[in-house]
Amino acid sequence: MGVSASALQLVQVDQQRKSFRIHRSAFKSGEVFEREKEQIFSRCWLYLGHRSEIPNRGDFVCRSLMGRNLIFQHTRKGEVIAFYNACTHRGAAVCWDKRGSKKTFTCRYHGWVFDTEGKLKSMNAESGYPEDINDDGHLNLPRVRLEQYGGLYFINFSDQTIPLYDYLGDYMRGVIDAINDQSASGEMIITPGEHAYSINANYKLLIENSADGYHLMPVHRTYLEFLADRFAGSKDADVAGTMKGFSAIGGAKAVGNGHYVLESNVPTGRPVASWIEPWGSVLKEEIDATRARLEQKYGKERMEYICELQKNIVVFPNLVINDILATTIRTVEPTSPGTMQVTAWCLAPVEESAAMRAIRLDNFVSFLGPAGFGSPDDGSMLNSAQKSMSGSPTEWTELSKDLQDVDDLRVAAGPPDGETHMQGYWTQWDMMLRGAETLEG
């Protein structure tokens, strides 16, 4: 690109012309990518893992996030913490397992030993070091700031950023609550098995796509046709008819700090708690009980919000939670301007019946993931966009649909098949990139 990215206003809004557009260097430029790492990924709360992945003392999961190797750890003392998986001696990883349970970590290189809090316990040497060498703790594995909401743990590489609770804000916390309310005990778990795959596209293309009501018919027609075939003869057979009403129910909402939620109605059935006839009557009882429990607890409106509306959620900048025909947690890690790695898990109420769990997992793989009937078609759109825009003279991406007349586009609502919510994301992205928003308290 000819112009230096930092000299450009990469997001341009013109309320007169109802125009919202993004300079395509946002998807392509190495300079923009470096700035994103500094201004966004080093300041925002980034999803690390779920509480249920490390249920017992000593349990850990190793995860890499933005090139940093971390250990998500349930300590022997019962705390949940995160620290770097890089030996303070000469840098080797102290843990080479993906997950497990340990009392201590012994570095394979020279045998230094660390406890589950990351504290240095032994240097495996009879002599050669002063007794008080680690009195100041500088040889302990450095910790990363870690906070949780509703069992979702996030790290932050800055100690200046506002707490996670405020970062998520009222609306987003309410959405997370609505997901956790699927469980009567409030306890959700990650089921075994992950999807880990890559897409050759800028990560923001997947963030946009993960809650894009506008693309459903063009991209997912073959999936909707599959559903209609499968539901043929049942009262849920008119998939196309339901989809005609798509734009009338729910909305696409920017809910502050760049987060957004698409709330919509798609006739797939939801394990919590929207029954469809093809599932059979056994599951109907379980679903009716869930609905009754939620109605009693919160009233009809909130019950219907929890049970019926599909929620495609983005927590700025790179976490997707799709509470749709199943509930998925999906992290999107940029690895270069034009590549990303995606990791996804299935979230489920701990106490649901075996039959419901089976339906949930079946729903998940029917549409989602690298071999589903939906996600790969999305992926191919992103591959195509990344590849084709790189050689195109069109400098701007048009993201104007349903631009709202509000002062701060980061809090705005539009129809489900619009782009209002994404405009909120991009506004936050632009402000953070320029340093106009730092998220400091």
Binding site: G193, E194, H195, A196, N200, F226, A358, L361, D362
Partner: protein, 166 residues
């Protein structure tokens, strides 16, 4: 009464080569008819601890199709609106080291090494691992009651997505 005679390695090999040929030729509407009404086609996730015994009703698989979705997959992939496979990838299925692993009244079990090359656009990727089959005789024909793919991969970061059939 179904014919429950064991299927020999040589018969199995001929059958698998036929399946591979249908897949490489994108004759998926014929391919789906190789599967019994109670069949499953599954690929376990790349981080699965016990790929041989994992259960798709309790763990997340990459895919877990019963017959209705085996059919649905074939029908979908033959539509031009199945964007991820438009135009169709070029594939080459290599099935080798075919072993008969057992036989009982459910059918004959096989273990098969596989390597599938796939080219989509300018990108070529490879899927490799072991396939576990359960084959049965239906009349004169051999059919698949179960096919489980176990990839020798720790993620699909090199392969991207897995839209072809193994």
């Amino acid at each position: 009464m179904a014919n429950t005679n064991p299927i020999s390695r040589a018969e199995a090999e001929d059958f698998l080569y036929h399946e591979a040929e249908l897949l490489d030729n994108w004759a998926l509407l014929e391919w789906k008819d190789l599967y019994t009404e109670d069949s499953v086609y599954e690929v376990v996730s790349t981080d699965c601890d016990d790929p041989e015994n994992a259960d798709p009703t309790t763990s997340l698989f990459l895919l877990a199709d019963k017959k209705d979705r085996i059919d649905g997959r074939a029908v979908r992939l033959m539509k031009s609106a199945a964007h991820a496979e438009y135009p169709h990838s070029k594939t080459r299925h290599l099935y080798t080291n075919i072993r008969v692993a057992g036989h009982d009244r459910n059918g004959t079990r096989l273990k098969v090494n596989f390597l599938v090359h796939r080219t989509g656009g300018d990108i070529t990727t490879h899927f490799m691992g072991e396939l576990h089959y359960l084959l049965v005789r239906v009349g004169d024909a051999i059919k698949i009651r179960k096919k489980r793919g176990i990839l020798d991969l720790n993620s699909l970061n090199d392969a991207g997505q897995m839209t072809i059939i193994l």
